[in-house]
Structures are given as structure tokens and as C-alpha cells.
């Protein structure tokens, strides 16, 4: 059965490693924070200027001066720091953030990503996404395998304007975990519980490599 959003987030949380600074994008990526094991040595960075971001505040304790990049009220944990936007993107460009999790509209089998603009529709802007994808060594995309029209979002080439080129390392969808090898394409690592390889093949545009037994995710 295909994963729901929390399932995707839960699977991505398995990719986290102690000692990492992690930037979570808006949407499904934000949910990843809910699945960090207690006491795990990890810090969340939000590009509007905080390291050591904590959970949402208790009701009545919201602080208008303390938000994340999705403009949600947040808290800070012991050891947190605040800084300006230039310093924030400085640490992003200097590759001090070990993992970035982003949503996407399309991902290509070479690791290109499109997630900011649909021609003909109102364009809201790229925010920090272009800086993040141009700089991160480790980018995981969290998204649905197909769009609302049932078309694959994993393609041989993005049709929408790009956010970044050859930068996505891994994609976690409602159906599968895929690694991107720019030479070979999407390499199927894991299937969602009960999802068949055939279904994934049918729903994946772009080159898909299926090698040996592809295990089910263990959530």
C-alpha cells in the first residue's frame, strides 16, 4: 500500500545520522522532525536564521519573533543560535548542512529538480530552494510518485523550469525509495509495503534500474 505523507517522512527519518545539521523544506519534509528518535544528536537549521530549532510552541507561548522558513511559530532548544540571512546562506553554501530535504514537482533521472515555477500559473518564487540545491552534498526529495493527473513526477528530463541541476541524491515517494546515479538513472532501493515492482515500473518515467530483490521498506 502506498505510504501517506507521514509514512514518507518516517522513511526519510531513517536516513538521519547523529552529528548532522539538517534543513527541512515546507510540506512533507517538515514532518520528518516528528520521527527523530529521542536524544538523537542532530540539529535542525532553518534558513531564516536559526540553528537548534525545537518543536512548535505550546498554545499561548507563541513568539512572533521566532518562526521557521515556513513562517510557522517554533521554539528553540538549548544550544540554539540566531543569525542573519547572509550567515544562514553562508553556512548552506559552505556545505555545513549535511542534509536537505525538499519537496519537488519533478525530478529527473540525472538528479535535476523542478519545484518553483509552473509557466502560466502564478509564480511565488524560489525562496531559498535554489541556494539549498546548488550547495547541499546530500539532497533527498520527498514527494508523491505521480501528480494529480496520474503522471509520473520521476522523468528522464524535467519539463518545468529547473531549480537545480544534477543535485538530487535520493527520492522517497509514496511508492519507493530511489537513489539517483546520474549515469544510470533511478536505482530502485526499496518498495513501499505491498507495492509491486511492476507498479513502480509503470509509474516511473525516466530510466529505472531494478537490480536483484528489491526489499520492502521497514517502517
Amino acid at each position: 500500500m502506498a505510504l501517506d505523507k507521514n509514512g514518507i517522512a518516517r522513511r526519510i527519518a531513517q536516513e538521519l545520522r547523529e552529528g548532522w545539521y539538517v534543513n527541512l523544506g515546507i510540506g512533507i519534509p517538515t514532518l520528518v522532525a516528528n520521527f527523530v528518535p529521542e536524544g538523537f544528536a542532530l540539529e535542525f537549521q532553518s534558513e531564516n536564521g536559526i540553528l537548534g530549532m525545537g518543536p512548535f510552541p505550546f498554545e499561548g507561548e507563541e513568539d512572533a519573533d521566532l518562526i521557521n522558513a515556513g513562517k510557522q511559530t517554533i521554539t528553540s532548544l538549548p544550544g540554539a543560535s540566531f543569525f542573519d540571512s547572509a550567515t544562514s546562506f553562508g553556512m548552506i553554501r559552505a556545505r555545513k548542512v549535511q542534509l536537505t530535504v525538499l519537496g519537488a514537482m519533478e525530478v529527473s533521472d540525472r538528479g535535476d529538480i523542478a519545484n518553483w515555477k509552473i509557466p502560466g500559473r502564478m509564480v511565488k518564487g524560489m525562496g531559498g530552494a535554489m541556494d539549498l540545491v546548488a550547495s547541499a552534498d546530500n539532497i533527498i526529495v520527498a514527494m508523491q510518485h505521480s501528480n494529480r493527473e496520474g503522471e509520473s513526477k520521476l522523468l528522464s528530463a524535467c519539463t518545468l523550469p529547473l531549480t537545480g541541476v544534477g543535485c538530487v541524491k535520493k527520492v522517497v515517494t509514496d511508492l519507493a525509495v530511489l537513489e539517483i546515479d546520474p549515469q544510470r538513472g533511478f536505482i530502485l532501493l526499496e518498495r513501499a509495503p505491498g507495492v509491486s515492482i511492476d507498479e513502480i515500473i509503470a509509474k516511473t518515467g525516466g530510466r529505472l534500474i531494478v537490480e536483484g530483490d528489491v526489499p520492502e521498506m521497514v517502517l
Binding site: 498554545e59 512572533a64 513562517k71 511559530t73 528553540s76 540566531f82 542573519d84 511565488k124 525562496g127 530552494a129
Partner: protein
């Protein structure tokens, strides 16, 4: 000590004229110069170019200046959540230039640091790169980006002193420090204005040399865009 205090927001905007380019601090509605935006609306200056990460919301923040048709062009990284903005943009009344957020921040910082241009990886291979010089360093492509040039910077800090020194709180810092450094005339409104000598000189975020005019703002609304909470007694 060089005293930077002016009496109010209106006097702080002295010299701000039609057609000028302004930087306006804040991320969403967090850390925006509420008093200066209100004063600028009363002042009625038109054909403004605003460099600001976002464009406010309907009826608040820069949304107030969009309503009154004072802004000709926005240079921002993200402009959602604003119907009037969308209407003006789609009708062609408003010009919009979208640039990556880190590039926006660094172009402000460059202006305040006397660096006319720098290279960044953001936007390589995308339409942001169109018309820009691409250059390889260590085999990786980067875009050349230019420092901004702003007639006025309007920023908001938590505390400030008579000498123009500024301290920010939490994530309300965001773009304010670099914009403060970048403005040809920088105007700062603060929640609390204190005499020189009351702020720890080690804790200053923006040295007073960058600030030309400072005043204590009033009636801060500090609206929250996305109020997200967890019920009390929830375990962390």
C-alpha cells in the same frame, strides 16, 4: 558619540522621494519595520522599487504599500500569500524580479561591505542564470552576482541606542542587518531605544556607523502568519 536619534517615523523618512529604491527588512511578517511602512504610506511616495524578501500580506506589511499603489517593482525571493500582489502582478501593474533568497541576502551584504560583485552557485543551470557570467572555480560553475544599490534601507530591531547600534531578537533578525549595512541612508525603528552605553558593545549586531537615523517605534502588532502550536501537556 554621534547621535542618530530622530523624533519619529515621518522625520526618519526625510528625503525619501518618488522613484527611489528601498530595502525593507523582515522575513514574512517577522521583523518588519511596521512604523516606517505606515509612515511611508502616509507620505505617499510612488514608483518605488522595493528589495524585500517577501511582499507582506493583504492589509499588512508591504501589502499596505501595494494597496496604495506606491510600489512599481518588487525584488524578492518569495511572494505568495497576497491577493492584491497577485492581481497587480498578473495585470502588469507591478513588476516582479524573483531571485534566490541566499543571493538576495548576499547582494545586500556585498553592498554593505563594499564588494561590487561575487560568485555563487545558486541558480546555475536555471533561468536565474540567463544573461549572467558563469565561471568555473575548482571545476564547478558559479554565477557572478552584483551588489544591490539602495537609496534607503528601512529596518527594524529589538533594541537600539542613541549611537545607532542595533540588537535583534530571535529570527526577527533575518535580512535586517545586511540591509542596515547596505542603505545609502539607513533608518532603523526599534522596540526599545536606550542611551549610549546601555548596550553591551560585545553584543551589538549592527554597529551604529551603518545607521543614519533611529527612533523608537510604537504600537507594534507583530502579526503571526502561521500560528502553529501543540496542546499543553504534549510530550516533546
Amino acid at each position: 558619540m554621534i547621535r542618530k536619534v530622530v523624533a519619529n517615523a515621518d522625520l526618519a523618512l526625510d528625503g525619501l522621494a518618488d522613484g527611489m529604491t528601498l530595502m525593507v527588512g523582515g522575513f514574512g511578517l517577522c521583523g518588519i519595520p511596521e512604523n516606517l511602512i505606515a509612515a511611508l504610506r502616509l507620505r505617499g511616495s510612488r514608483n518605488l522599487t522595493c528589495i524585500a524578501n517577501n511582499a507582506g500580506v493583504d492589509g499588512f506589511g508591504l501589502g499596505l504599500l501595494l494597496e496604495s499603489r506606491q510600489i512599481r517593482k518588487m525584488i524578492s525571493s518569495y511572494v505568495g500569500e497576497n491577493d492584491e500582489f497577485e492581481r497587480q502582478m498578473l495585470s502588469g501593474e507591478l513588476e516582479v524580479e524573483l531571485i534566490p533568497q541566499g543571493t538576495l541576502a548576499e547582494r545586500c551584504r556585498a553592498a554593505g561591505a563594499g564588494i561590487p560583485a561575487f560568485f555563487t552557485p545558486a541558480g546555475v543551470g536555471t533561468e536565474v542564470a540567463e544573461g549572467k557570467e558563469v565561471r568555473l572555480f575548482h571545476g564547478k560553475p558559479y554565477l557572478m552576482e552584483l551588489a544591490f544599490d539602495a537609496d534607503f534601507a528601512l529596518v527594524k530591531a529589538w533594541k537600539g541606542d542613541e549611537a545607532g547600534n542595533l540588537i535583534f531578537k530571535g529570527t526577527a533578525r533575518n535580512f535586517n542587518p545586511m540591509m542596515a549595512m547596505a542603505g545609502r541612508i539607513t533608518v532603523a525603528e526599534v522596540e526599545e531605544l536606550v542611551p549610549a552605553g546601555m548596550l553591551d558593545p560585545n553584543a551589538i549586531h549592527v554597529p551604529g556607523i551603518f545607521v543614519h537615523r533611529i527612533f523608537q517605534g510604537a504600537h507594534y502588532q507583530k502579526r503571526i502568519e502561521q500560528r502553529t502550536v501543540r496542546p499543553k501537556n504534549t510530550p516533546l
